[in-house]
């Protein structure tokens, strides 16, 4: 029930968006979001509402930090 899924916004009409992941489309109300959302953005969709916008720069930075935490060379 608590499942939130990152999905890409494919259309927006007022506060009603449609978002898609792996070919599955869902309605996603934007009524709970302050941030502006445009087509192509990724949002977390939970129970028909977008509850958070995913920040691409942060996603990349987290991955970089993870890779920094260990050196793959040591793993051999």
């Amino acid at each position: 029930m608590c499942l939130g899924v990152p999905m890409q916004v494919v259309s927006i009409e007022g506060t009603d968006a449609v978002a898609e992941i792996d070919g599955v489309r869902r309605e996603a109300s934007l009524m709970l979001l302050d941030e502006e959302v445009v087509i192509g953005d990724y949002v977390i969709v939970h129970a028909g509402f977008a509850i958070s916008k995913l920040d691409e720069a942060e996603a990349l930075e987290t991955l970089a930090m993870m890779r920094e935490m260990f050196d793959p060379e040591d793993m051999a």
Binding site: M1, C2, L3, S29, L32, L33, H46, G48, T62, P72
Partner: protein, 363 residues
């Protein structure tokens, strides 16, 4: 920008596990971290993450599944709704098979009750608009992730002028029971893997009292295996350094202040109340009740419900499982009398339940 593959990369997960082993190597004793989100419970079992942990680190599951912590008294009220002629009960799918004291929504449906599964509470609003001659009751269960969506649907119903849409609300809030669990000496929790999507709404700041007053490190962690491993490593680093701070591992979705709009909508419709948790009992200030102004949408106020006297199922150890006191394998009914096909307790029904996760992946 999904990055799902990157965050599931085996080498990355194993590298983070090696880092965690390093961190923990000089530590004497065990550090126990509790996750309080069903999706974390699932991820930890599904990706076999316990197998990658050093002996000093132990993960236990807490009350993270909203269906599981909903007591029988609520289910019995929902079942009483089913028995009102002409009424439509709309619910998320995972409530359907949860046993109440003597029945379930599924059993009531088989007997002719009009129970419909919806994906969004807005679908229940649409159902009410399309069936003006019938009452529609939506079963409002869930934590701070779900509660704003229910609040939003009540606002939508008001805007449409609907008089036949009601919510049977039993929402619960997260940081409050974590404080109760942190104070339980039997559990000896050293830190919390804080829920990812609850935190998109309430923000990291909501955990400050746990870190400051209860001295428990808190790390808001994402759901992919690399997220969980990094989150656990961040917790271990705090324990080793004898610190307790709130940190965000899941930075791509969670901000310190959370989602202000969702919080405002939540506060407009709901007010904090005491709430009964399966296993944990009554916890003051841990629930959300519909505000007086929205009474016309409150099923409890508007419908004369006559639930049966509620009892918890005999022999089920859900309460201890939800507190992290035992693992599902310690329950004598696990996988014998209690299976996903014939569940005795709620923890075996919901896909996010600890017993269901242990049954599916852990044996």
């Amino acid at each position: 920008m999904k990055y799902q593959d990157e965050y599931r990369d085996r080498e990355l997960v194993q590298g983070l596990a090696a880092r965690l082993r390093d961190l923990a190597s000089g530590y004497h004793g065990t550090m126990t971290f509790m996750e309080v989100c069903g999706t974390h419970t699932m991820a930890i079992y599904q990706y076999g993450l316990r197998g990658l942990l050093p002996p000093q680190v132990r993960l236990i599951s807490g009350p993270g599944c909203p269906v599981c912590v909903t007591p029988n008294s609520y289910l019995d009220k929902a079942i009483a709704c089913c028995r009102i002629p002409g009424l439509i009960v709309a619910t998320f799918g995972d409530m359907l098979r949860v046993p109440g004291t003597t029945s379930s929504l599924m059993a009531e449906r088989a007997k002719g009750a009009d129970v419909r599964i919806v994906y969004s509470p807005l679908d229940a609003v649409k159902l009410a608009a399309a069936n003006p001659g019938q009452k529609v009751v939506f079963l409002g269960v869930g934590f701070e992730t779900t509660a704003p969506t229910i609040a939003g649907s009540i606002l939508a119903a008001r805007q449409l002028g609907l008089k036949n849409f009601f919510v049977l609300a039993s929402h619960k809030t997260m940081p409050v029971p974590m404080a109760a669990l942190a104070s339980d000496p039997e559990l000896a929790i050293d830190g919390f893997i804080c829920p990812a999507h609850v935190s998109t709404i309430i923000g990291a700041d909501a955990y400050q009292p746990l870190a400051h007053d209860f001295h428990r490190p808190c790390v808001i962690t994402g759901f992919e295996p690399a997220d969980v491993m990094q989150g656990v490593a961040m917790l271990a680093a705090q324990v080793v350094a004898a610190e307790s701070r709130v940190e965000i591992q899941y930075r791509r979705a969670v901000k310190p202040e959370g989602n202000p709009r969702a919080r405002a909508i939540l506060a407009e419709v709901f007010v904090p109340c005491d709430a009964e948790w399966r296993g944990l009992g009554l916890i003051p200030g841990s629930g959300l009740a519909i505000r007086e102004e929205f009474a016309p949408f409150d099923a409890e106020r508007m419908l004369a419900l006559e639930p049966e006297n509620s009892r918890e199922p005999a022999g089920c150890r859900c309460g201890d499982v939800l507190k992290g006191k035992i693992s599902p394998f310690d329950c004598p009914l696990f996988a014998s009398a209690c299976t996903p096909e014939a569940p005795v307790g709620a923890c075996m029904v919901s896909t996010e339940g600890t017993c269901a996760a242990a049954y599916k992946y852990g044996r």
